[in-house]
Amino acid sequence: MSQRLATGGRLIDRSQPRSFTFNGKTLQGYAGDTLASALLGADQMLVGRSFKYHRPRGVVASGAEEPNALMNMGEGELFEPNQRATTTELFEGLIARSQNHWPSLDYDIGALNQLAAPFFSAGFYYKTFIHPRAAWKHLFEPFIRKSAGLGQAPKGADGDIYEHYYAHVDVLVIGGGIAGLRAAHAAASAGARVLVIEQSATWGGRAPVDDDFASEINALVAELAAMDDVQMRLRLMGAGVYDHGFVTGYERLRDHAPKPGAPRHRLWKIRAQQVVSCTGAIERPLSFAGNDRPGVMLASAMRDYVVNHAVAPGQRTVLVTNNDDGYRTVLCLLDHGLEVPLVIDARRNPEGTLAAKARARGVTIRDGYAAAGVRGTKRVTGIEICPIEGSGGAVDTVECDAVAMSGGWSPVVHFYSHCGGKLLWDEAGAFFYPDAAKPPLNQSGAGFVRCGGAANGALQGAEAAQCGGQAGAEAARALGLTAPVPSGPAPEPQAEAPLMPVWVMPLNADYHRRSHTWLDFQNDVKLSDVQLAAREGYESVEHTKRYTTLGMATDQGKLSNINGLAVLSDALDASIPQVGTTTFRPPYTPISLGSIAGEARGDTFQPLRRTPMHDWHEANGVHWEPVGHWRRPYAYPRSGETVEQAVHREVKNTREALGLLDASTLGKILVTGPDAGKFLDMLYTNMMSSLKPGRCRYGLMCNENGFLMDDGVVARLDENSFLVHTTSGGAEHIHAHMEDWLQCEWWDWQVHTVNLTEEYAQIAVVGPHARKLLEKLGGMDFSAENLPFMGWAEGQIGGFDTRVFRISFSGELSFEVAVPAAQGAAFWDRLVKEGADLGLMPYGTEALHILRAEKGFIMIGDETDGTVIPQDLGLHWAISKKKTDYLGKRAQERPHMTDPARWKLVGLETISGAVLPDGAYATAPGYNANDQRNTQGRVTSTYYSPTLERGIAMGLVLNGPDRMGEVLNFPGTNGQIYRARIVDPVFYDKEGAKQNV
């Protein structure tokens, strides 16, 4: 059994018990426990079921690499699946449930899958479930989906909040073990601004368990904390390294002490000039039959639990090892009064100091032997042994309740690799380590990540510490600082005997054993699976990974990759470095999507842009329409009115009396400078340089491909300045478009542009009574003589500073009045008040659309869609014949653009008076070569016209203007065919009498 020891426990505080529940059972642990250590302390070795075969699984590791102990944690809106028990700090009231079993952890029907395991070899599902065709969708896939997955899906919204944090440092040290602390100290001592981050809740890493660095760690932490330019953070994991020295960090602020209302996670966005990764190494399992049984654990994890938490995973532990480091666990267990009946060492005559110490303490060592199998189902009961060269026939069995396995160590090179750093293979230690000659490169082409300590392959304590210090000093030197070679105790002479690479145990294991030897615990990938993949030609390491799912589990191969790679290279008769690794991708361990989204949720998901009159609209029953980041009033329904009825009322009232439109979202870009006219002549299809100050002109803007991209009215303010109005949606990208040309192509033109969109409130006063209202406010002469159509004037209206443009998008008498944004609300209020007796009503975007459609005015985004040229829209009059060039001119001369057989703008009227469906196409006889119906036109805008009391539409029709009166068929998606006649697109006031008064 596993149990809590009577004394000890470096990290736990026995005066602070913590109760928690596991599968509904209440258990006890202590402050300082992880969920895993607390479970083990309560004799709960069985903690989960594997992905494919639902095998019983126990805790195998003590950190981020844990593949088995994943929990459904918490409840309700704080529920979270797949939480690693080994990195979950215990807190009072923690609720954990094991995953992937039914009906219970102890009795799981899914475990029957194991019986069929011979049929479920690697990639079996690619070879079957092929017939009958429908069965995949309706039978096999639903079954597979249900059996797969791990934790439960959360339900509903997240009850926690998250935040982002930005840091800019000279040197970022990832990992707060002895190497990382030394690195930080060296860099900071040289004058660098340093941030050192550690994923766990304590400084020191493995050193306090494996070596005696306690006093130095305390001293370093104290010294660093006292330095001005050093920031230190616990529970902050390095997540990913990206180009240009960008690093993400994942700080778990509240996972260990949940508190609603305070951020749970904080995503750090760190810009570091130099990154030093002192991220240690991860011990590898050994590959022997039954190595996945609960109670088989990494040797290092076992001593972590004993030393850190005073938890003994077993009473009688057998060590299986191929190296000296495993003996540390033996000595540790003996020191804590636990039994070690046997060490199985693959090597002959291990002679290292540690082995000698164990031997001296009376431990039996079977050297040149292998584990041949593990007894027990939900818990280890014994281990079988055989000679290392054997095929597995057991020569002996030893009773035990735990097995420690030690297969050597793999440096954590993730942060070196995320951004392209290359690795080398160390034959003696059998691990990949950073190739210092090929680091990830920053924006200047220089390396910006280096590794220190065990992450750099310096696995021994003192050697690792020294290596960390050197890495810190080198990082400082890379910044041009002077860093002395760090002092510190010189590493002891190598006291450990060499490791013997053993990738399958015993070396000639028979098929039965190889098919019961786990490489990837969570995904149930066995040694035989990788061998099969190689045999079937999935020779690339990426093919093998994807075919077998090796390394694709939530630990991303931290335990399995090197072991699997070695088996693959053996099967291919290639060397390990030749086969290479799969790509290391961020994040180092999974990070919450909530932390990535940060504060941007709900109302703050995207910035909301509000016009100065926003609150008035809100208070007056507005029905909003999102337009980019703006909200625009779609209509103002009155009580008892539908939105549609409101729109119709607004249209009629504007035509008959007086309407008020908030046009503030309209783009307003000031273009100024001696070359402003020349610039606008290139931007617009028509001539702008000839515009007189005081006048406005409607213009069309095309992209390089000749397609119409924006339209609007340009007002000439003075000799050198123009105010360009764009569509609401176009303000930002048209401004960017201008800057693109000015900065990249015409950089010597003297033009300056400023986006003034938000500087002004703009209000359209529209309708037969428009002039009356403005005259009522007074301050200017609004007569047609003084302010003619397409003129503008500056002055005061009713005491407000204004600029008035006499332009119309409705066909009515219309003044668009701009006032400084701060005066917008007051000016609007005044207009509303003074206009009441003139029948004033505000109108929204939908009424605006109908008003313009009745007049046959095009709308960018409706009549245009990025494939339409001005010539298609009958806008030849707005295309200058005199100019030698404008953006899009050359493109419009291409054969397809000048083809007379293009779809062109017309009006459409249904025979029945009904409204044509939006986006409907007019069919033409026959089918094309791909068996699609031929078409000859489409509806671009369609509305019910309250003015004409019938449906009206605009559309693009093949040779449309030449086919007036013809009737076309528009099939709807409802099965109905709409018949519509081609008519003039101007439905209302064709002479323009109303706007010109």
């Binding site: 049929f119 092929i130 065709r133 919204a157 030609g537 990426e542």
Partner: protein
Amino acid sequence: MRRYSAFAIAKEALRHNTGWQKAWRSPAPRKKYDVVIVGAGGHGLATAYHLGKNHGITNVAVVEKGWLGGGNTGRNTTIIRSNYLQDPSAAIYEKARSLYETMSQDLNYNVMFSPRGVIMLAQTHHEVRGYQRTAHANALQGVDTRWISPAEVKKLVPIINLDGPRYPVLGGLWQARGGTARHDAVAWGYARACSAMGMDIIQQCEVTGIDSAEGKVTGVQTTKGQIACDKLAMVVAGNSGLLAEMAGFRLPLETVPLQALVSEPIKPCMDVVVMANTVHGYMSQSDKGEMVIGGGTDGHNGYTQRGSFHHVEETVRALVETFPMISRLKMLRQWGGNVDVTGDRSPILSKTPLGNCFINCGWGTGGFKAIPGSGWAMAELVAKGEPGPLTAEFGLNRFREGRFIDESVAAGVAH
């Protein structure tokens, strides 16, 4: 080729799986082939497969600088749909979708095509109109799509939040026959079938130069030596510009990073594919249980096959807003690929200025769904030397003539 079946699996299980053959051979290149295809991704392999199956041309080599299926074929979010707006697009994507339906049977390899349905959400009035237009177009193109109400969206996707404060869901365009497939399996299934037809798939073989005489291609230089050919097909996605340069012409496209990510696996919670183009994100759940997430391309050109974090952040934000429950899931892995994007966001399947050299590229962010249709059409182009109905509109000359096939005109720009 030994057939895969439940029976074969049972038989092999009894003899410890020792009888399985290699899924494909790994031969050394021969001196000359009728056709050399550069690029053993989905499109290249599908081209080879249909050259053999439809046109009886099997003296074919597919050369690949890395491992087969290792480019965008093995990096995408596996969405298959054909609800495109423009006729030429709808034709080729629908051809592809229909070929996906029978691909497992055709290849005797389970590619796990899962016609679970795809919804494209409309979250602005503009988008509503765009998708209604697409629905009208699809009806005439023989593509089975339907405009659905917010209530229907909710029924199909219970985890969706219809009433987000910024962009409430106003409806969606639903293609019930769209879905997903296992991307690696598509490449592997084609590779196995091509190899069985006697074609050579040569991996770890990078093309370093293109040989020509009298304006016609004669072969390729590779890291495994010179290989002569009568016809050459370039099907290399993000590397198209580089390869075209070797052949002496330029392409109207840019290479940009596109990223994707997956969550940790959870039990089934979403049965369909959802694309939300206003907020720029899409999501489905893999058979393994991971939420598979993608978004828009990065803003810069690059060949690194990795992207910048802020794009991932934008995508995740969009999807947390759309599916609030995923906030409590964790990102397991993010990755990137290189996609080649043309000016009109539509592919190029074309003859080139070099005689007997053909190119298939520019699928941008949406190539996976097109693989079988693209292979079918490209094989016809290579075999006959002239474009057929599916490729007629996708020629390089369209950029000179202004005959664009612009798909961004409908509300959705994401593929």
